[in-house]
């Protein structure tokens, strides 16, 4: 299997606060990887570093042997927040994506919009959060790339819509491509993953194949995660040492 993402000794701090600390890992061709952990554990920081949206203090990242900023044509990225202007319609967003990405498939995007019951002429400002999430996902999943990176694609989305989004991700990602999906809602998505990476306070707590975890621990990913992290305050998780 080819290495798609290589991370070596990556550290990023925010002043005195730790973002991620000395993270090293490789992600391979065709893997579906779950980047899991409570809010603030470093998932988004790691993803931003892979995308070149943050600069590391130490260590290095490469995507298919290229620097993050040189590999944007190889990666389709869904950030945590909406990056389109509110006045834009999906038709306009499609036009932007068609301009910049040769691999963008507009007919696929139109099909996805239809599945999500969204209208191409509807401005983003009139959409609910769930609708915006679906709109962004449509753009990202309508590209044919070797690597997809989705950062919390289901946060703030109701459970019914989550299932629709998940189904869409499964159906629409380029076959044989690598998919990295970060979330703190593990129960909803664990059937998707080949491999899970648990993050905790900027460190990698666990990096294991799902098959191995289930076979050796006799638990689902969600159960194992809950065992490591005990719930406190408002449904968030906290690791019990």
């Amino acid at each position: 299997m080819n290495n798609m993402v290589d991370i070596i000794g990556l550290t990023r701090r925010y002043g005195s606060r730790r973002g991620i600390e000395n993270v090293s890992l490789s992600i391979y061709e065709g893997e579906i990887v779950g980047l899991l952990g409570p809010n603030g554990c470093g998932k988004t920081t790691l993803i931003k570093l892979i995308m070149g949206l943050l600069q590391p203090d130490e260590g290095s990242v490469s995507v298919m042997g290229l620097k993050p900023t040189e590999a944007h044509h190889l990666v389709s990225y869904l950030p945590e927040q909406t990056y389109l202007s509110d006045w834009m319609t999906m038709e306009e967003a499609f036009s932007v994506f068609e301009d910049f990405y040769r691999d963008f498939d507009k007919s696929k995007a139109m099909r996805m919009l239809e599945e999500f019951a969204l209208h191409p002429e509807q401005p983003l400002k009139t959409m609910s959060r769930g609708m915006k999430e679906k709109a962004n996902l449509t753009l990202v999943m309508s590209r044919y790339v070797p690597v997809y990176i989705l950062d919390e694609p289901m946060s703030g989305i109701d459970p019914a819509a989550r299932q629709t989004i998940l189904d869409s991700i499964l159906r629409n990602h380029n076959p044989g491509s690598t998919l990295i999906l970060s979330t703190h809602l593990i129960g909803d998505v664990e059937m998707l993953f080949d491999r899970v990476i648990f993050m905790d306070e900027g460190y990698i707590r666990l990096d294991r194949s799902v098959e191995d975890l289930r076979a050796n621990e006799g638990k689902s990913v969600d159960e194992y995660f809950r065992e490591l992290y005990a719930p406190v305050r408002g449904g968030d998780y906290y690791y019990v040492r």
Binding site: G52, L53, L54, P79, Q81, S85, D99
Partner: protein, 294 residues
Amino acid sequence: MLGKLIKLDFRMVRSQLKWVIPIYALLLTSAFVFKSFNIPVLGTLMYVLGIIATLALVPVVLVLMLAHYYRHFYTNQGYLTHTLPVTSSQRYHAKMISGFLLYVFSSLIAVFGFFIILLTEGISKGKAMYAINEFFKIMDTWPAYIGLSTFAGVLLIIGIWLLMYVSFFTTMSFSVTAGMGRRFNRFGVGGPFLVYIILYVVNQILGFFGLFFIPLSLRISPGDTYLKMRVVTEMPIHNFLDIGVTGQNIPFEEMIERGGGHFDLGLGVFIFSFAFVVFSYFYTKRQVGKVNLR
């Protein structure tokens, strides 16, 4: 890709600009109509507003460009901008070019507005072309006062107009980019303001030094009819000390006399400005590719 980035910039700015031009057109039309018919109070009020709007048009467009630069690079929109398959140089150059095109566009509209104002003034006085003809007379004669032909005078105005954009773009792109860099990132949107203030203070100090202590001056002396000017390699501080500081306005003739028949205007300040433009270009272009998005 550069063309596509410029197109994207225009798409993004369009939503902000779409209210500026209609408002300006409305003010200008009102000024024209009410002043031409010499309607008391309202005519004068709209005429003054029309002049203010004409003067403010280019600065307003520049401020919108600045806001766009910040938003497109350093807010949520940056997640799109910085993940497009283009180089940081292309991103930076696209901003520079799209900004310049907007500057040209708004300047042309402002010039058009200026002529409408002149026409309005003429019509209100019963001689439609009066103010416009006066303006062209002045344009024809002023360059001679500084020893230039009319053509050279027009070139000088175009040159200053171009320099204004270069100065604006380099200063604002440097302030925003450095202000959103790692060193100032913790101040949020205050970072660019902080950098701008630091830049301003440094510019003032260097400007003072450049104005008096660099041996490069524009020597202005009275000619037979008009002023004579030539560049000399002398430190302007000597001439300045000869003239002396009185704390009062000195008539130009007296100033020339005290300065030994000439007045030296320090040009060293332009050396620093040029150096900053070059530095800002290379630094900002590089830093645009090293973002730290929140």
